[in-house]
């Protein structure tokens, strides 16, 4: 999917690494591999691929992720 890119720096995805408990579920559910595990913590590695689907936010057990698109 790297050949498909929409606008840069628009996504509202925020990761609070201090809240991350390292379960890695977010890396499983993200359809665009935006997140990756680094030293038992999730890390945003491809911010501009985020389509704000909310899968990671929904499944994060420690509410470390948020996404807040407008009315869209």
């Amino acid at each position: 999917m790297k050949e498909f890119r929409h606008l840069e720096d628009v996504a509202t995805l925020v990761l609070d690494e201090t809240k991350c408990i390292g379960c890695s579920l977010c890396t499983e559910v993200c359809p665009h591999q935006v997140l990756e595990m680094h030293q038992k913590k999730a890390k945003i590695i491809d911010f501009n691929a985020c389509m704000e689907c909310g899968a990671c936010v929904n499944n994060c057990p420690s509410s470390a992720l948020t996404v807040n698109p407008g009315v869209g």
Binding site: M1, E3, F4, R5, H6, L7, V10, A11, T12, L25, E28, V29, C30, P31, H32, Q33, A49, C50, M51, E52, C53, G54, A55, C56, N58, N59, P61, P69, G70, V71, G72
Partner: protein, 386 residues
């Protein structure tokens, strides 16, 4: 013994003719071989069910893994937007193959197209299928609409008595369902653990063989040429009604001229405007999606401007009347480009990679431009008649 009994069954002591014993075989056929225990007055077996599996909690329909001609015809119609919102199957528990208490439970949506996609991949599998009520919408869209949800999944797990159907406590949910499901909430409410399966049904067998682990290719969304082109008939179908209204307006506008209104003008110039509309539609809703990664620019509206410009130039080369005067040519060019750009922008809603924030930004930027070109085009079109 059997034959004897049959002849004695004759009325009023009259012995039936011996040939009548064969009546069933020769004259009236064998009679339909119905799956009798499933027959109920007023009910008809769905074409995708072949029998019922007996379980502790009652019969569970077993589904076929081969699509028949009816499935294929209805798939083609739905892909063209016909019956798209009523293409559902009954939610609940189904089985495939010869499932038992150790078999996996696959969760899916009750859009028949989704269901068909899933079952045709399961020919070698014994499994349970739990179909949620998503009102005939596919898993990903239903997940973002909130119908493919934790509550819906929990309700169906409980309603189907899933803890009596299987010994293990897990369900496999398609990865794209994660947008609507919270694994933690489902576990808490139903006792079942959610395992996120692959995105595509075609990867399920491999996923299960791999001890329920998806590799990175199973987790990544794709948007291939075929995946894009198959969406385009519906892209056209959904704009058919507004296009028809636009066409009527075009014919009226085309009739305006020196003599206030002329029917021959409406017809002749209207026809060219109508062709331009059709070309703009194909450019924005078919060509742009099909060639998406090859058209320069990131913003869909810009991509639509580019394809629309090329399409308009080709049209100008082929139809001399489209360039009868500079103002005519420019009006039609701008009109074609506007339609193409708008419909290309519309396609952002269909793609699997644009974010709502990105689409909002693009629309804020391009709708004013599209309105300007539309107004310019209309003005030039009326002016060109004088």
């Amino acid at each position: 013994m059997k034959n004897k009994k049959k002849t004695q069954a004759s009325t009023s002591g009259v012995t039936l003719m011996p040939s009548m014993d064969q009546i069933n075989d020769n004259c009236c056929g064998q009679g339909a071989d119905l799956p009798s225990p499933q027959e109920k007055p007023g009910y008809k077996l769905c074409n995708y069910v072949d029998k019922f599996i007996t379980t502790e909690v009652g019969p569970v329909p077993r589904i076929k893994t081969k699509l028949d001609i009816r499935d294929r015809i209805s798939t083609a119609l739905v892909r063209c937007g016909i019956n798209r919102y009523r293409y559902t199957i009954a939610p609940g528990l189904y089985g495939v193959g010869d499932p038992d208490k150790t078999s996996e439970v696959l969760v899916t949506a009750n859009f028949k197209l989704t269901f068909d996609h899933l079952r045709r991949e399961l020919a070698t599998l014994n499994a349970w299928i739990l179909v949620l009520d998503t009102k005939g919408v596919n898993v990903w869209c239903a997940a973002s609409k909130g119908t493919f949800s934790s509550r819906e999944l929990t309700n169906h797990i409980l309603k189907a008595d899933l803890d009596k159907i299987v010994d293990h406590k897990r369900v496999i949910v398609p990865q794209l369902g994660a947008t609507g499901i919270c694994a933690k909430a489902v576990k808490k409410e139903s006792g079942f653990r959610v395992v996120y399966g692959p995105i595509r049904a075609a990867d399920i067998i491999k996923f299960l063989e791999n001890k329920r682990k998806a590799d990175s290719s199973m987790r990544a969304v794709t948007f291939t040429f075929l995946e894009r082109i198959i969406l385009t008939p519906v892209e056209l179908q959904i704009v058919l009604k507004p296009a028809l209204i636009t066409a009527i307006v075009l014919f009226i506008l085309s009739g305006m001229g020196p003599g206030f209104f002329s029917f021959s003008g409406a017809w002749n110039r209207g026809a060219i405007a109508f062709i331009t509309l059709a070309i703009g539609m194909v450019s924005g809703a078919v060509i742009t999606p099909a060639l998406l990664p090859y058209i320069p620019g990131r913003q869909f509206a810009l991509k639509g401007f580019i394809t629309g410009s090329l399409a308009a130039l080709i049209m100008a080369g082929l139809i001399p009347a489209a360039t009868a005067s500079p103002s005519t040519g420019l009006a039609l060019f701008l009109f074609c480009v506007t339609i193409s750009s708008f419909l290309a922008m519309n396609f952002t809603g269909t793609t699997p990679f644009t974010s709502p924030s990105g689409v909002e930004k693009e629309m804020k930027r391009y709708i004013p431009i599209q309105l300007t070109t539309l107004v310019l085009s209309t003005g030039l079109w009326i002016y060109s008649a004088f």
